[in-house]
């Protein structure tokens, strides 16, 4: 099973976590100013790389905090973990 190192609780089974997909996707500061294309990109398009990927996880069955993981999407190896919800 995929194991996720929570920065607060340590490494646990992935079943304890909720997945949050790509990290670093901020809500647009002025949504009304976006074109339809930009709005669609914000709503629907997320990074989907084969390789290193910065993503968010939520420790639902532990500290109940969001954090960032940099994981390789082929090997599932985790390179960095960082606290923070954004």
């Amino acid at each position: 099973m995929l194991r996720i190192p929570c920065p607060h609780c340590g490494e646990r089974d992935a079943t304890e976590f909720h997945y949050g997909a790509a990290a670093g996707v901020d809500y647009p500061t002025d949504p009304a100013a976006l074109t339809d294309g930009e709005w669609a990109a914000y709503l629907f398009v997320r990074a989907n790389p084969r390789g290193w990927f910065r993503e968010r996880w939520f420790h639902a069955a532990g500290c109940r905090l969001w954090f960032h993981v940099e994981r390789h999407t082929v090997t599932d190896q985790v390179r960095t973990v960082r606290e923070g919800a954004a």
Partner: protein, 407 residues
């Protein structure tokens, strides 16, 4: 005489190993079912035979020979009924079309309802299907019990069977035979099938894509047709295009060979399992995707565990069956659980992707529609609603209900 001298020789190969040429009218990237069917229909229906299918591994080594082969057309929206039913009709004559056996068996597909919202969604879908002329029916628990005697339709299970949708013309086929049948028939019409040829980059000139770099050299073309399923996002990314796709591991498994006990495909969204019994006798089961993005063709064991618990709850006699083999493919999922078919933002480049957990059933249908789109350089009417721009216009085709359990 040695033993080997007494054994029969190697059977005839079904297709040749072609060497890549420097240039083609159309290059199809991806030698899964969709790419092979597209090449076949380009040659057969449109007389475009100077075509290559480039496959990075071996034919059907992607999702094509990893899927659980469920074929049905009972999707909710008119656009979906259009393309999936077009495909189901082609399945009904595919053996004659390809002059090969694909073991298409119209044994019916049952989608169980276990709670009030399942019942509402199922009945709504049956009504929508009937308006589209599809053979959809609503069955109550008793009727389901008669159809599938080994299913526990009492009120014992934690999630009892309350009814379900049934499509009698739905069924299964043998996926590798389908790929081989399309490959052989396409090659007989002049298509080159090139395995172990990975596309690693593209050459562009203005708003045209002119060629691909591959592990077997550069190849130029008139038109490009991507059909790379789980890797579509990676390839489009090399063209600078971001697609609304997330690639996930999706698993399936088989039991050892058993006596025939199940002659209907049974699926359950709520408890998340589906099962059919293959012609040889193994139970073929699937469930949901892993939530995270993954390209490793390996899924998480807890998904299998939950799927088995659900299967045994529904079919108590499965408790003593043994799992023989589990595996995973990489499925490309869109935000509305519907595919993307049409132009890329280049004059001569097209994409077919986003079939996610359910594109095997579409193999002949999308092959013919995508070939027509590429041949005439405009969307086929059945493909038009599935263009990439629906994510900008907001005309989504939400099939999360019909596609809730991966299949």
């Amino acid at each position: 005489m040695t033993i080997s001298a007494r054994l029969p020789g190697h059977p005839e190969f079904l297709w040749r190993e072609d060497e890549p040429k420097a240039s083609y009218d159309v290059v199809v990237v991806g030698g899964g079912g969709h790419g092979l069917a597209t090449a076949y229909y380009l040659a057969k229906n449109h007389g475009i035979t100077n075509v290559a299918v480039l496959e990075k591994g071996w034919l059907a080594g992607g999702n094509m020979a990893r899927n659980t082969t469920i074929i049905r057309s009972n999707y909710l929206w008119d656009e979906s009924a259009g393309i999936y039913e077009h495909s189901l009709r082609l399945w009904e004559s595919l053996e004659e079309e390809l002059d090969t056996q694909v073991m298409f068996s119209q044994r019916g597909v049952l989608n169980l309802a276990h709670n009030l919202s399942d019942i509402r969604e199922g009945k709504r879908r049956v009504n929508a299907n009937q308006l589209n002329g599809l053979d959809a029916q609503w069955l109550d628990a008793q009727e389901i019990g008669k159809l599938v005697p080994i299913l526990d339709v009492t009120d014992r299970p934690r999630h009892p069977v309350l009814g379900g949708t049934f499509q009698p013309r739905a069924g299964i086929a043998k996926h590798d035979y389908v790929a081989w049948g399309f490959a052989r028939a396409a090659q007989a019409l002049g298509v080159d099938i090139i395995q172990h040829c990975e596309v690693t980059g593209f050459q562009t000139s203005g708003d045209r894509v002119t060629g691909v770099s591959t592990t077997r050299g550069d190849i130029s073309f008139g038109r490009l047709a991507l059909s790379a399923a789980g890797h579509s996002g990676v390839l489009a990314g090399q063209l600078g295009v971001r697609l609304p796709l997330q690639s996930h591991p999706l698993q399936a498994l088989v039991s050892e060979l058993l006596e025939q006990v199940l002659d209907t495909v049974v699926m359950s969204n709520a408890v998340h399992v589906y099962v059919s019994q293959a012609h040889k006798g193994e139970l073929v089961m699937g469930a949901g995707v892993d939530a995270h993005v993954g390209y490793g063709q390996r899924g998480s064991f807890h998904v299998i565990e939950e799927q088995m618990a659900a299967a045994v709850e529904l079919f108590p006699i499965f408790a003593r069956a043994h799992v023989l083999r589990t595996w995973a493919g990489i499925v490309d999922v869109t935000p509305d659980a519907s595919p993307i078919i049409g132009h890329l933002p280049f004059e001569n480049a097209y994409v077919n992707c986003g079939w996610g957990t359910g594109g095997f059933k579409a193999t002949p249908g999308v092959g013919s529609v995508y070939a027509d789109t590429v041949a005439h350089e405009r969307p086929h009417p059945l493909a038009a609603p599935f263009a990439l721009d629906r994510f900008t216009t907001g005309r989504l085709i939400d099939e999360h209900g019909a596609a809730a359990v991966a299949h």
